[in-house]
């Protein structure tokens, strides 16, 4: 009988194994820059962009252009993951990047198809998922699945690597302007993901010295004692990597205690009853109530497979955990805590989480209508209320769909609303032009 044991072995899936490259459809000849017009432009080809593109394809909306600053689908997410040497996703097999309802191959079946490539631990995780238990997904499986999903829904041939500078409504169209291109679109979907949260300005006395880095920057060689600031999964990976290198680590939690969880948000938010606590389509939910829920539910936590590793390291002195106190300052020599204590280290890594990109900098501030850091979205469609031709999927839709909106499963929910709305608009437009 298979029993669920949250052991660190679940974290050690092989990465970059010799995964077969399937014959991909030939890419049609095309210009180096995106076309001048399209029914839909999707800005960002991460998991949310991929899900939107797949859903639109199934709804018959094929004149779609994707623009992504990094290039291949989900590339930035995978770069971040690999930068942390993260081998599995906390998101389970059920949360596959794609769409439901069209009999597309799902993530778990994709893994089963490649049974011979999976380790015994990975196969057991598939079985756990089949039995309705929580599972972790190897990054290799996720990456190959994203490639397949992109190929079958024409994402690969409709994706251009470029920076978008401006998104500007223009009558019944939306202009998408970037480096050397301009696209006139009927509708635009912003799938911008999340950006690194920077340190509060008061923490640093001046320019950031080389001894202070962020989680997405490499740690220089030769560090003897590393200070990691943050309470989430990223911090856990940084600590684990440092311990593996033989570095002693000081962990500044900025909270009372570590939070070990299977999922980064409460599982109820992946279900209708959890979403109903946010979604005013069902019953009115006040803004303040949503803010309070977000503050409570969108909190840093660590996959509990890390728990034995970190507890063992703390017990044997390789890891020192500073609980129950916040940070006052960060210097090249460590950090100062609000209780007056200093934590010394020759390198400090800040892992302070991420901030949803809500369209600021692309759309005008007025059109984003930001309130408490969240965009002003129409809850039925996830379009910006002040720019109805522009939609937001992913983390930016958290105040409508709840904290799970930033997860793979939430992307599908956002996608369903957005794609149905866009497809209806495109059909109406086609009818008008007949």
């Amino acid at each position: 009988m298979t029993t669920f044991v949250p052991q660190p072995r679940l974290l050690r899936s092989p990465r970059h194994r010799d995964w077969p490259r399937y014959p991909e459809p030939a890419l049609p000849a095309r210009e180096d820059t995106p076309p001048a017009a399209a029914d839909v432009v999707i800005v960002g080809a991460g998991p949310a962009g991929l899900a939107v593109a797949a859903a639109l394809w199934h709804l018959g909306v094929h004149d779609v252009v994707l623009v992504d600053r990094t290039g291949p689908p989900a590339a930035r997410l995978l770069d971040r993951i690999d930068g942390l040497d993260q081998r599995v996703l906390r998101s389970p097999y059920e949360h596959h990047p794609g769409v439901e309802g069209y009999r597309d191959c799902e993530l778990r079946d994709f893994a089963r198809m490649h049974w011979s490539l999976l380790t015994a631990v990975e196969r057991r995780e598939v079985r756990m998922s089949q039995a309705g238990h929580r599972s972790v997904v190897p990054v290799d499986v996720f990456e190959a699945y994203c490639r397949h999903t992109a190929a079958i829904h024409r994402v690969t041939e409709r994706l251009w690597a470029a920076d978008v500078h401006t998104v500007e409504p223009d009558g019944d169209r939306v202009l998408v302007l970037g480096g050397g291109f301009r696209i006139t679109a009927r509708q635009v979907v912003l799938c911008l993901g999340e950006e690194r949260r920077d340190a509060p300005s008061g923490w640093l006395a001046g320019p950031r010295p080389a001894e202070i880095g962020y989680w997405d920057e490499p740690v220089p060689p030769g560090v003897d004692r590393e200070v990691v600031v943050g309470a989430g999964l990223t911090a856990a990976h940084l600590i684990n990597n440092a311990l593996d290198r033989g570095t002693r680590v000081a962990w500044v939690l900025r909270g009372d205690a570590e939070r070990y969880q299977c999922s980064d948000v409460n599982a109820s938010f992946f279900r209708a009853e959890g979403r109903a606590r946010f979604d005013s389509l069902r019953q009115p939910v006040s803004w303040d109530a949503r803010l309070a829920l977000m503050a409570r539910e969108r909190r840093a936590s660590v996959m509990f497979e890390f728990q034995p590793l970190l507890r063992e390291a703390e017990a044997d002195g390789r890891l020192t955990v500073h609980r129950g106190t916040d940070l006052r300052a960060v210097t090249g020599g460590g950090v100062e805590l609000t209780d007056g204590a200093s934590v010394a280290g020759d390198h400090v890594v800040l892992a302070l989480g991420t901030v949803p990109a809500i369209g600021l900098g692309l759309l005008s501030d007025e059109l984003v209508g930001a309130r408490d850091g969240w965009p002003d979205l129409d809850e039925r469609t996830l379009a910006y209320r002040r720019a109805p031709g522009v939609f937001a999927a992913g983390a930016a839709s958290c105040m409508v769909l709840g904290p799970a909106a930033r997860n793979l499963d939430g992307h599908r929910l956002a996608t369903a609303r957005i794609a149905a709305t866009i497809a209806a608009h495109v059909r109406e437009g086609a009818a008008v032009h007949v």
């Binding site: 009988m1 298979t2 077969p20 399937y22 014959p23 459809p25 030939a26 394809w57 009999r103 597309d104 191959c105 079946d109 089963r112 198809m113 490649h114 049974w115 011979s116 015994a120 196969r123 057991r124 598939v126 079985r127 756990m128 089949q130 039995a131 397949h148 190929a151 079958i152 829904h153 024409r154």
Partner: protein, 158 residues
């Protein structure tokens, strides 16, 4: 009173042949996809079953200009017609079907393997064609419905 039911359960093995895992998965797919897979597999003896399955997924989405999904289904129907002649020649039938899908798959695979030397119509060109032929046989009633739109099938042994 003693416990009437065994409340323990175990998950399926993780050590079965990878083709069995894929086979069980294929048994849940639509018959048109199985026939298309049989057709695609016959075109490339070196293709592995997973590659063929993903290629069929590409064809379903119209992602390849050189081959349409309907053409792959038609090719699969022709191959199924030949296989059916082999099942008749060998007087081979599934017989009693196990409710355990993995055992069912293994049993069907063993039967085809045992008869393929003496029955040229059941000989396959590679792993993918073998897996898809087994899958089609296990779903033969539904496969026959689709295949008969393209070819004339003999009556199979019951």
């Amino acid at each position: 009173m003693s416990e009437q039911y065994d409340t323990l359960f175990s998950l399926p093995s993780i050590d079965d042949d990878p083709d069995t895992e894929l086979g069980v998965l294929l048994m849940g797919l639509g018959p048109d996809r199985l026939l298309a897979g049989l057709g695609v597999a016959g075109r490339d003896p070196t293709a592995d079953p997973a590659t063929v399955t993903l290629l069929v997924d590409q064809l379903r989405h119209g992602a390849r200009a050189e081959l349409m999904f309907s053409d792959a289904v038609a090719a699969g129907a022709r191959r199924w017609q030949v296989a059916c002649e082999g099942f008749v020649a060998a007087n081979l039938s599934l017989g009693l079907r196990s409710a355990a899908l993995r055992r069912l798959w293994e049993s069907a695979a063993d039967m085809i393997a045992a008869f393929s030397d003496a029955t040229p119509q059941l000989r396959t060109t590679g792993a993918a064609e073998r897996v898809y032929l087994i899958a089609c046989w296990l779903r033969l009633a539904e496969i026959a419905t689709i295949a008969e739109e393209h070819v004339v099938l003999p009556e199979l042994p019951s």
